[in-house]
């Protein structure tokens, strides 16, 4: 179940308040009860000392009534303070309910409790034994105080404490709600700002500055995601446009040529010529579609299968062999340099395809009689192959885009290549690198262009 952050915060505030108040309340209760008991004991003690002082001076049965009078006087009308004198001699006795007194339990310090009939609360008692003197036998003097007042005080305290705590918890919840709302306001602003982003204008971003520090990371991350989406979206848009453009030219040629052919009476050789020309265009279309399907498969994350550990130099040499006639024609030479012993698990047909595209690209962009170098570098987890050729410098901004589909650094060169390649060659190199867990790279320094790719190899 999803819960709002606000309510979670409020609930947490409430729990925290409840725990705090319970601890404080509990502690206060313990302190208060201790104080009340101490007070009770002092009161009992005062009464007891008074009586003992009197009793110790009275040693005869005749004068005992003075004690009784004094006790009567000191016993308040509500009976909240009581006196008892217990002894074996009935003349020296005082108080009601002697029988219960005998059974009363006492602690070592003489403190005890007793429940009297018709009294709601137990009496706290203090007992002292007074030794015999003259006619007076050994007596036990007991003072009792009704616990009602103390119990009442405690109960009132507990009720007040509970009421206060509950009110305070409610208050904390209300305040917590308000604080949460206040604290989450930047988040709400962010959400409103994010909702305002429309698909139409992909360059929109969330503003970072007015928001809380904690949110700036999130905002930056979100903006980063927006940026990547925008780039991908733009690439896709450009790609679609490029595809349409690439397909449009051969299609227009096909339609136009066929229309022209059919608009007059033609001889068989003339029709044959038209069909041959159409076939060339159709082959071009097929080649584009096949390459696009290949790229789509790579995009879907298809990895190379049938990997065989192969010496890279051997494959590179085969590719050079393939271009032998073209190189001869342009009086170019190709040298292999670097780690000749490097090998990696590759799908040879894919690797040759990438190599051949790279070499084709280098031949196309080099002057006649140029020397092309193919460098093989063995790294810890990859083998890198790059083709270096003298050529026009490529702007730094163009370098990473060389591997984009249909990308041409020089738009004027668009049709110069004729039917050799349709701007997908290096994109296919990248796809092959991806399929082998590698990557592509390109540099352009001092009139030397180096474009290459890597294939992963077990370290």
């Amino acid at each position: 179940m999803k819960r709002s952050i606000t309510w979670r915060l409020v609930a947490m505030f409430a729990v925290a308040a409840l725990v705090t108040f319970s601890l404080i309340g509990g502690a206060l209760y313990v302190v208060l009860r201790g104080e009340l008991m101490r007070h009770e004991r002092e009161e009992l003690n005062t009464h007891l000392q008074d009586m003992m002082y009197l009793i110790q001076r009275i040693t005869t049965a005749d004068r005992w009534n003075r004690v009784q009078t004094k006790m009567d006087t000191l016993t308040p009308a509500d009976g909240s303070v009581r006196f008892w004198v217990l002894s074996d001699d009935p003349r020296f006795q005082y108080g009601k309910g002697m029988a219960e007194m005998e059974r009363m339990e006492r602690n070592a310090d003489g403190m005890g409790t007793i429940v009297l009939p018709q009294r709601e609360h137990a009496f706290q008692t203090l007992t002292r034994t007074i030794p015999a003197d003259d006619e007076r036998p050994v007596i036990r003097l007991i003072v009792g105080i009704d616990g009602a007042a103390y119990a009442h005080t405690l109960r009132t305290f507990v009720i007040a404490m509970l009421a206060l705590s509950l009110t305070a918890v409610l208050l904390v919840m209300l305040l917590g709600y308000w604080i949460a709302q206040l604290g989450l306001r930047p988040l709400k602003q962010l959400s409103v700002a994010a909702q305002a982003l429309s698909p139409g204008s992909s360059s929109q971003r969330l503003e970072v500055s007015p928001l809380a520090d904690e949110l700036s990371d999130l905002t930056a991350a979100f903006n980063g995601a927006l940026g990547r989406l925008e780039a991908a979206y733009k690439q896709l848009e450009a790609f679609n446009a490029d595809v349409a453009h690439e397909l449009r030219t051969p299609l227009a040629n096909l339609i136009g040529e066929t229309q022209v052919a059919l608009s007059r009476q033609r001889t068989a050789p003339q029709f044959e010529e038209v069909l041959q020309s159409n076939l060339e265009e159709l082959e071009r279309l097929r080649s584009i579609v096949n390459d696009m399907l290949f790229l789509a498969r790579a995009d879907q994350g298809e990895a190379a299968t049938g990997l065989v550990v192969t010496p890279i130099e051997q494959e590179v040499a085969k590719t050079i062999d393939f271009f032998e006639f073209v190189l001869d024609e342009r009086e170019m030479s190709v040298a292999i340099e670097g780690d000749a012993a490097a090998s990696a698990p590759i799908e040879t047909s894919l690797f040759r395809r990438a190599m051949s595209n790279l070499l084709q690209n280098a031949i196309q962009h080099s002057p006649d009689q140029a020397c092309i170098a193919i460098r093989i570098e063995e790294r810890e987890a990859a083998v890198r192959v790059s083709v270096r050729n003298p050529g026009e410098p490529i702007g730094a901004s163009h370098l990473p885009r060389l591997f984009d589909r249909f990308f041409r650094a020089d738009p004027a060169r668009h049709d110069q290549g004729g039917h050799h390649g349709h701007g997908l060659g290096l994109a296919i190199v990248k796809a092959v690198a991806d399929m082998h867990g590698g990557e592509v790279f390109a540099t352009s320094d001092d009139g030397v262009t180096a474009i290459g790719f890597s294939v992963a190899r077990p370290a």
Partner: protein
């Protein structure tokens, strides 16, 4: 050559039928899996072209049923450019596969390769017109003139000569000569043909190495009128 084509797409089936008949093959057509299986089991074909996606019964089922009875070579046609299909097809006993869209020349080449497989031993000498090729000593003559060829030039000539009269696409040539089995989008084959032509045709008559525009190249002795331009 007797061929069975099992293909439900009418336009594809029609052009295959027409093209293969013109190549001198006896062609039977079936438009669904059930008919295809019936024909395949009741007749003896040299090779069967079998589409994967078929009504009533798919190509894999037809293939399995066929393999329980006989070993007629089978080329599977798959529209889905997916590895699983290829693996499944080859696992079930297909001899080869082609991914749609394929070129007719490619199919022709594969059919010939399948029926040639395990046939008579290759000749050691080939002769086209007055062009003589010795495959053992790797030498070629035009009439009495010895033609000096590099190793790759000879390999190209041998590939074309072994399939004389057969149109070879640039892709097929790249695969047969250099083992590059992909659409290379390069002018390598054109340049190579140009060089070979300069050596074997330029100074001699009749011309033997012909360009079939849009399709590829063929090495054959043609009638003067029928010779293709270029």
């Amino acid at each position: 050559m007797k061929i069975l084509i099992v293909e439900d797409e009418l336009k594809t089936a029609d052009y295959l039928h027409k093209g293969l008949t013109e190549q001198g093959c006896a062609v039977d057509l079936a438009h669904d899996g059930v008919d295809g299986q019936h024909l395949a089991l009741t007749h003896d074909y040299d090779v069967i072209v079998l589409d994967v996606m078929l009504p009533k019964m798919d190509g894999f089922s037809v293939l399995r049923a066929l393999r329980e009875v006989k070993q007629t070579p089978v080329i599977m046609l798959t529209a889905r450019d997916r590895i699983e299909d290829r693996i499944k097809g080859l696992h079930d006993g297909a001899d080869d596969y082609l991914i749609k869209p394929f070129s007719f020349l490619e199919l022709l080449a594969r059919l010939q390769a399948l029926t040639r497989r395990g046939r008579t031993q290759e000749p050691m000498q080939l002769k086209i017109g007055n062009l003589q090729i010795d495959l053992i000593t790797r030498k070629a003559w035009r009439g009495a003139t010895r033609i000096d060829l590099t190793a790759k030039e000879f390999a190209l000539l041998a590939v074309l000569a072994r399939r004389q009269g057969e149109i070879l696409s640039k892709t097929a040539i790249a695969e047969l000569v250099w083992d590059m089995n992909f659409d290379s989008n390069t002018n390598v084959v054109e340049v190579a043909i140009k060089r070979l032509r300069a050596k074997i045709d330029a100074a001699f008559s009749p011309k033997l190495l012909h360009t079939i525009r849009g399709m590829g190249y063929v090495l054959e002795l043609q009638d003067e009128e029928a010779a293709s331009p270029g």
